[in-house]
Amino acid sequence: MNLLILRLLLGRLALACVSLLVVSAVVFTITDLLPGDAAAAQLGQEATAESLAALRHQMGLDQPAPQRYVRWLTGLLSGDPGLSVVSGKPVGEMIGKRLPASLLLAAITAAISVPLALSLGIASAMWRGSWFDRLASSGAVAVVSVPEFLVATLAVLVFAVQLRWLPALSYSNPTASLTDMLRSFAMPVLTLCCVTMAQMLRMTRAAVVDQLKAPYIEMVRLKGASPTRMVLAHALPNAIGPIVNAVALSLSYLLGGVIIVETIFNYPGIASLMVDGVAQRDIPLVQTCAMLFCAVYLLLVTLADLVSIVANPRLRHR
């Protein structure tokens, strides 16, 4: 089995490098194709040919595009993602200040949504066809069909404006007490759970139901195992592959895809940093964020594959 995992890891690593390279080239080209550049974005209506030229020179935008790309890439390979053309600060520092906030939000959301979705999914599979199953499944579809800006806005209107239980805005204030922190995280986490849970729940239910129909489950039942044991010890390990993949997909979304939640709750995370970078045409910043999201995605998917190999008895004992 170790050989299998090693081969998989090496293959994935090589593929990851190629994907990252391709993504960086695509992101660079597309950002460069957007109308205007960082100098025009910064000067806006006040731009004149003279001030544009001066600012472009200062930002290094007067060099040809391929040269800028190669310089950024070699910088990144040596561990330095370069300077933001807009603020002049190191990109690494800018991301470093926002990343912990994003990771914290993602971690709290994952810690709540993953166990909840998996247990609801397994329970639905066990009691499939019951009122509980119908309620959970239709509830999940209903919640995932409501766009997250609506969930977030409704939550703010009810809990912050009407009831005044929770703050409408989330700050990452290091001096805040634990209760304050929990209160400010409540609504962003609630909103994100609504978005991410449905897919995990449905995938878990489908995968477990699929296994429960298999002939070996009949064997398990015939030998007299309890329903809980049947699902947890026999069906679940075989269903883990699709489940962890669904979990990985949902988690990768939590880092870069939460722009709406960051905007509505004024949460200083990394998604809004990247969107801001696009609006200001700050190519080094956009590139580095894209690399980060891509790398996290690849990492999560690889982890999911590893988990499914380790957890699956048939793959494990090969």
């Binding site: 001030s51 603020s87 703010v156 700050y171 940093l273």
Partner: protein
């Protein structure tokens, strides 16, 4: 009532010194005021005293934008978020009052004999946040850096008229201009010309002379300002601390206010005003300002070459309807010229151009353009332009004119469509002086002459008014220019848009300022929290 801030300050000082009603009346009468008027004014001054500003407290304020380009470098200030922070941490040489006339600030006194050489005498005893005194060298540095292209100054075009800036005494700075400009003090009162310390290269510490010091500044996230105990204005500021954040979502800003997380929010959507006014404990500050969104008809290409088309379009604005429906009443009617009614040089004698479909039809027929589709470019970044375009499209259809409204994304609108399209929309923020506004957008050789409208006589009037120090003569010159633009300029200006800010009732001291919302971004040193 035309009550100058100087007088208000004098009154307040007298009241705090224990003056009674009779003393105040004597003071006002000595100032040459009629007895009845003085009586009323003394009464208002006394009620104002009843709500004496209270010291202390902390507020949270949200502007409408935040981003990685947030800066504390005055030369690069680009939006209200930057301006508001600037007004916390820095001062200008002069401040603009509500008639947009310059009043002393860091410069205690300023004068010029010929409008070309200006002498500014600096206030004594002003110190920066790091304890160093304000010197002429700081002013020289602060002004001259705008001329260097690499500074990336937003005010470079304005600074280019400055020839030299030099220290001519221990507390005196002399500015010479390339051509006379009676409005130089007004220009130096604008946000980009705030005074920084000589030799500053990294502005993130925000070392200025302003009412607050920087405690924390994270671009795109927030700033925390704490009271500057050594501020040169006695008794100011009132607040201990201001946290300023930027929230780009309209709804989130208002929700933050209603939930009690914020005390003041900028740029309230007009549709939210009713909701705020109906909720107890909240108020809306409406600021009539000089901001306008307008149709540009280029006179060098497309249908705008034909003056009859331009006149037809100007008669197609149902201005009252646009004001009521598009701006929800939060606007003032405009008259196809850019100087708004609150401005000291506004010419009130110009008859208002009405909505007149018959005249529009007459001019449109005369233009010979009937039967052609006329593309009109609009974008969400030019406030209300899409709504205005749609209303005009309906009006145009009724006289047989086919307007083809093209909605463009905000991204890149200013560089790719504004100034380029034959017929399209623009948006102009309030400018501090009539001269700046007319020079930037109407002078024949200006790169921002949107309609490419070239009138040598207009340029002569403009230069004459700029060099004129006599107020009445200037006013009549500006009136002539407004008439010229109204009659044959290439811009259709339907209305001036008001700024709307939402605030908690506990926050006091907010008054409108024609340069825009949040008291022209200078709320920080004027507001206080009512005792709870």
């Amino acid at each position: 009532m035309n009550q100058s801030p100087m007088l208000q300050e004098e009154l307040r000082a007298a009241l705090q010194g224990g003056a009674n009603r009779r003393d105040l009346l004597a003071m006002l009468m000595a100032g040459g005021m009629q007895a009845t008027l003085a009586g009323g004014l003394a009464a208002t001054a006394l009620t104002a005293h009843a709500q004496t500003p209270r010291q202390g407290g902390r507020i949270r304020v949200a502007g409408a934008s935040a981003g990685i380009s947030d800066t504390l470098d005055p030369a690069r200030f680009a939006n209200q978020t930057d301006y508001s922070r600037g007004r916390m941490f820095y001062n200008s040489l002069v401040e603009l009052d509500r008639q947009l006339s310059p009043q002393p600030a860091l410069a205690e006194e300023f004068h010029s004999a010929d409008a070309q050489t200006w002498v500014f005498r600096l206030r004594r005893g002003v110190t920066f946040h790091d304890g160093k005194p304000l010197t002429p060298a700081d002013v020289v540095f602060s002004l001259l850096r705008h001329k260097i292209p690499a500074t990336g100054s937003k005010a470079k075009a304005l600074a280019d008229q400055i020839a030299t800036v030099s220290a001519t005494g221990p507390l005196e700075v002399t500015v010479t201009l390339t051509t006379p400009n009676a409005d130089l003090p007004v220009i130096l009162g604008t946000h980009n010309f705030m005074i920084v310390q000589d030799g500053t290269t990294d502005f993130s510490a925000g070392i200025g002379t302003g009412p607050f010091r920087v405690q924390e500044f994270r671009p795109g996230v927030r700033s925390v300002a704490v009271r500057n105990k050594n501020y040169w204005k006695p008794g100011r500021p009132y607040l201990d601390e201001i946290e300023f954040i930027g929230i780009s979502d309209d709804g989130a800003r208002v929700n933050g206010l209603l939930s009690g997380d914020l005390d003041l929010v900028a740029a309230v959507n007009p549709r939210q005003v009713k909701r705020l006014r109906q909720t107890p404990g909240f108020g809306v500050l409406e600021t009539p300002s000089g901001q306008y969104t307008h149709v540009i008809m280029r006179s060098d290409m497309g249908p705008g070459r034909n003056p009859d088309f331009v006149l037809a379009m100007k008669h197609l604005f149902d201005r009252e309807l646009l004001r009521k429906v598009v701006a929800q009443g939060h606007a003032t009617l405009a008259n196809d010229q850019p100087i708004d009614p609150s401005h000291r040089f506004h010419f009130a004698g110009l008859p208002q151009r009405p909505y007149d479909p018959e005249r529009a039809r007459f001019h449109f027929r005369k233009s010979g353009l009937a039967g052609t589709r006329i593309p009109v470019v609009a974008s969400p970044v030019a406030t209300y332009s899409i709504e205005i375009a749609v209303v005009m499209q309906h009006a145009a259809r009724r006289i047989g004119m086919a307007l083809d409204v093209k909605r463009m994304p905000g991204d890149g609108y200013w560089s790719n469509h504004w100034l380029q399209s034959p017929v399209g929309f623009g948006n102009t923020n309030p400018r501090p002086s009539a001269d700046t506004l007319l020079t930037q957008f109407f002078k024949s050789d200006s790169p921002w002459n949107e309609a490419r409208w070239k009138r040598p006589r207009f340029d002569q009037l403009l230069l004459a008014a700029r060099a004129e120090l006599d107020f009445d003569k200037r006013r009549s010159l500006y009136a002539d220019m407004q008439v010229m633009i109204h009659e044959d300029g290439g811009l259709g200006i339907p209305m001036f848009i008001s700024s709307l800010d939402g605030h908690s009732q506990r926050l006091r001291g907010l008054t409108p300022h024609p340069l825009g919302g949040l008291m022209a971004s200078a709320f920080a040193e004027h507001v206080w929290l009512e005792g709870s």
